[in-house]
Amino acid sequence: MPEKIDFSKVSFLVVDKNPLTGQLIRDILHVLGATDIRLADAVKPACKELRRAPVDVIIAEHHLVPDSGLALIDWVRNSPDSADRMTPIIMLTANSEEDYVVKARDMGVTEFLAKPFHVEGLYRRLVAVIARPRAFVNAESYFGPDRRRRQVPYGGPDRRRTES
C-alpha cells in the first residue's frame, strides 16, 4: 500500500511579509488537512513564535524586512535560543537567482522553491522534508542539512588535509 502523509499531524510556521502570500500558503495547507499553521511577517516575530513553541516545518521568504530570511535560518540553526536546530526550513522566495540559492543553502536551508510557484512544486518540497528527512552536518563553520544530494562512490585517495 502506498504511504500517505497526514498533514493534520504537522505544525507549520509561514513567514512572509506579504499577508496575501501568507494567507495563500495557509489556505493551501488547510486543504491538505493541516490545522496548526502560524503566520509571521518578519524574523523577530517568527523567532518569538518559535521560542513560544517550536513547529515541525518552517516556510520562509528570503526577502523580509528588516532582517532577511537568511537571518531566520541562521537563528534556527545556530542560536542558543533555538528549540530545535534541525527544524526543516523551506525557503519560498522570488529572490531565486543562483547566489541567493547558494547563500540559503550555505546557511542551512532544507529545501528551496522559487516564486512564482505551482502547488505541485510546494507539495513536492513538503513531501521531501516530512517523508525524506536528511542527515545533518555539524562542522566548524556549518550546521545544517547535508548539502550533498547524491552519494557517489569514490575510489581515489583520501584528500582530506588532516586526519583526526
Partner: protein, 182 residues
C-alpha cells in the same frame, strides 16, 4: 588542526508521526488534489491582482514625482524594487506568468541602479505601462508572440541602459545589491 565534521543521522520523528498507510495524502499528488489546490490559488487571484494594481499606481506616482535629489531617487528605487519583486513572485503563482516576467525584468533593472537618468526612468515607465496593460487586458499565461517580443525588448533595454561603469568607480552600489550582499 581542522576538526572533522560530525554527520547526524536523519531524524525520523516527524516522518513517524505524519507518514502512515491509512490517513492523508499520497506522496504523489493526484489530479483531484491538484485541482482542489489550484482552486485555492484561483480564489486568491482577485486579491493578488488588486494588490498588484495598487502597487502599479504607487510606482507610477513615484516616477511622476521623481526629483534629481539622490536620496529621493534611492528611496524611489528601493520602493520599485520591493514592488517589482512582489509582482515577480505573485504574478505567475496566480496564473499571470507575463506579470512575473515583466516584474522580474523591472526588478533586475532597478537592482542595478542607484541613480536614474532620463532614459533609465523611461525604461522603468515602460515596464509599468506594460504591467498595466497585462492586468487591464487580463492576459493570463505568457501571452503570445507580441508579448514575447515585448519581454525580449525589455531585455535589450536592460542591457543597453543599465547602470554605467562609473557608478562602480564612485563606489556607489545599488541599494538592492547592497541588501543582497548583506
Amino acid at each position: 588542526m581542522a576538526k572533522r565534521a560530525q554527520i547526524i543521522p536523519p531524524r525520523a520523528d516527524l516522518k513517524t508521526k505524519a507518514v502512515n498507510l491509512r490517513d492523508g495524502f499520497d506522496m504523489r499528488l493526484t489530479p483531484e488534489v491538484v485541482r482542489k489546490l489550484e482552486e485555492v490559488v484561483h480564489k486568491s487571484r482577485d486579491a493578488f491582482t488588486t494588490d498588484i494594481a495598487e502597487r502599479l499606481v504607487v510606482m507610477r506616482r513615484l516616477l511622476r514625482e521623481l526629483r534629481p535629489e539622490p536620496e529621493q531617487q534611492r528611496e524611489m528605487i528601493a520602493q520599485i524594487y520591493e514592488s517589482s519583486l512582489e509582482i515577480k513572485g505573485a504574478g505567475g503563482t496566480v496564473g499571470y506568468d507575463l506579470l512575473s516576467q515583466i516584474g522580474k525584468s523591472l526588478n533586475d533593472f532597478v537592482a542595478e541602479v542607484s541613480q536614474l537618468d532620463d532614459r533609465q526612468a523611461r525604461v522603468i515607465g515602460l515596464h509599468i505601462d506594460a504591467l498595466y496593460a497585462v492586468l487591464a487586458n487580463r492576459i493570463t499565461g505568457r501571452g503570445g508572440i507580441i508579448e514575447s517580443a515585448i519581454v525580449e525588448a525589455f531585455g535589450e533595454a536592460r542591457r543597453k541602459f543599465r547602470a554605467e561603469e562609473s557608478a562602480e568607480d564612485n563606489d556607489v552600489k545599488p541599494a538592492a545589491t547592497r541588501e543582497r550582499d548583506a
